[in-house]
Symmetry: C2
Subunit: 260 residues, 2 copies
DNA sequence: CCGACTTTGTGCATACGTTCACAAGCGGTA
DNA sequence: TACCGCTTGTGAACGTATGCACAAAGTCGG
């Protein structure tokens, strides 16, 4: 790593009583860095990873920040900064080795280990998720399905048997589920969430349009399609408003310049 | 509106030659404000709206920022700031009138008008979306479905007939589609997107794991479940790293205090 | 009508994220 | 080896978002 402040890899022998203000840099910093990656950058790293995997399949071995940024739909400076959080694995004047980059991003994202997924609520959405081949191939095997409906339990969906929600604790423990996906009706979501948490699941992906309450140590991400659509709707409205402003501008509100 | 700088609701007659530095506030500002709402705030407004609608159904007529913030899972100061972008419709010492707030948020989000949705790609996910009742009830009627598979076209899904993708332009125009949802395999997504744009659709919600290229005036939002899971995975890994640091800390790296 | 109490709305400080711009570093070439 | 052109990696400037803390503005009981 280039512009590091201190000098050399100062071993952990640490000076005795440095009560001075500027804190010394330690081993902790190496770990600390992972924590220092902005959430927004993490989301983009996942996108870069997908693009890079595609590149690798097409036989591309090296890629410049400019190219990768184009393919990922971001500014190249941002891309380089994002990659700098991961470490410095590029070659100046050349670019990045695709394989190397893939493996380092995978390491940072914790994809060196598989994360088993459990889907709760095997209705419209749950069926789609269970049948989807895109998760296992990316390191997220769907290890268990749950529903409360007795007509569904026992029947396999996408090759995986559906368990009754009451068995959630034992099955999750047995299959080492680390991610729980909630696809139940909103009324049931909080209760399901609580059961997942009790079962030791610390990561939850929630499709139900409710705000889940969880302990601090549990990470929740939500996918709310109605919210997405409302954001789109907002932009439509905003655009209409701007058009209206332009009209007013054209008509000319006396003397008042809108954008000089 | 409370803390407004100027005085009274200065009508649009605009003072003659105020070339002074502090720019006068005009009609444009009212419109301007909509544009000034941070994207993050817009997403939260949609959540507040959902919570408020639920409250209204339960007969709640008034709510304080503290209560609403709790229900929406955010800090109350943030909530109040978000609402201040919409305008000042609360009553100090009392709180917000639920109905009033709902209607103002709806106005800002452009929900006073319906936004017809077209879903393209009626596979696993497309079926789930077409069958989902949550969209029409929130002002987003599903007006058309499209697929390339001749076996699917003509057959109704969720009460809506599936059209062939080749009819996309005429059908979208006829049904005044304003939001296009892409649920096709990734390989087809860019082509489908281009067709939607040609058909005049300016808002796109993309489920395919690809980065879409669109003209500036088109708004795209993506839902990428694998990315969501990878973000969760990152947090798991980060947590494991922190635990490792704590162990090192416990063992005691001589003299170096990690967090004093 | 007053004064105690509650809750909003926002100025300000801080933290976070993005973008610019350029020195540092590398491969290739003479 | 010395130079050149290209691309990375990162300080620093900027812009945006968050959260605190408190004055302003309202309600309500007496
Ligand atoms: N279908 C979509 O396209 C879509 C889109 C956006 C959001 N959502 C949300 O996703 C969730 C699921 O949607 P859906 O269309 O699949 O609903 P659905 O009604 O088709 O399926 C829900 C399933 O959950 C099961 N269930 C109910 N209570 C349960 C409990 N306590 N424990 C376990 N399982 C339980 C039901 O038996 C049913 O099989 C809903 O919250 C919905 O709002 C769905
Ligand atoms: N199913 C899921 O749970 C899930 C989860 C995450 C992401 N996705 C993504 O969503 C998309 C759809 O997933 P799916 O599981 O429904 O796939 P699917 O294969 O079940 O369905 C795809 C549908 O698109 C149609 N199609 C193909 N090319 C088309 C074209 N050019 N024009 C119109 N229609 C066309 C096909 O006929 C098919 O009906 C994929 O990109 C997938 O990666 C799905």
């Amino acid at each position: 790593m280039a512009g590091r402040r201190g000098e050399g890899d100062e071993v952990v022998t640490a000076s005795p009583k440095k009560t001075a203000e500027p804190p010394a840099e330690t081993v902790a910093d190496v770990r600390e860095r992972a924590r220092a990656i902005p959430e927004a950058a993490v989301a983009r790293l996942a996108v870069y990873l997908r693009v890079l995997s595609g590149m690798a399949e097409q036989g591309v071995t090296t890629i410049s920040s400019e190219e990768l940024a184009g393919a990922a739909g971001v500014n190249s400076a941002k891309l380089r900064k994002d990659l700098s959080y991961v470490g410095s694995y590029g070659t100046r004047g050349v670019g990045y080795d695709v394989e190397v980059l893939v493996s380092h991003i995978e390491r940072i994202l914790g994809l060196t280990r598989k994360h088993s997924v459990a889907v709760v609520g095997i209705g419209n959405l749950g069926h789609a998720l269970a049948n989807y081949g895109g998760f296992p191939s990316r390191g997220f095997p769907v290890a268990a399905l749950f529903d409360i409906d007795p007509d569904l339990t026992g029947v396999p969906v996408g090759g995986i048997p559906v368990h009754h929600i009451d068995d959630i604790t034992s099955v999750c423990a047995e299959r080492e589920v680390s991610i729980g996906v909630i696809a139940t009706p909103p009324q049931a979501a909080q209760a399901v969430c609580d059961r997942l948490v009790s079962a030791g699941v610390q990561c939850i992906l929630n499709f139900a349009p409710v705000v889940l309450q969880v302990p601090d140590y549990v990470e929740v991400r939500k996918v709310d399609l109605a919210v997405e659509m409302q954001i789109l709707s907002f932009h439509v409205a905003r655009r209409a408003d701007e058009a209206a402003v332009d009209v007013v501008n054209g008509v000319g509100v006396d003397g008042v310049v809108i954008r000089p």
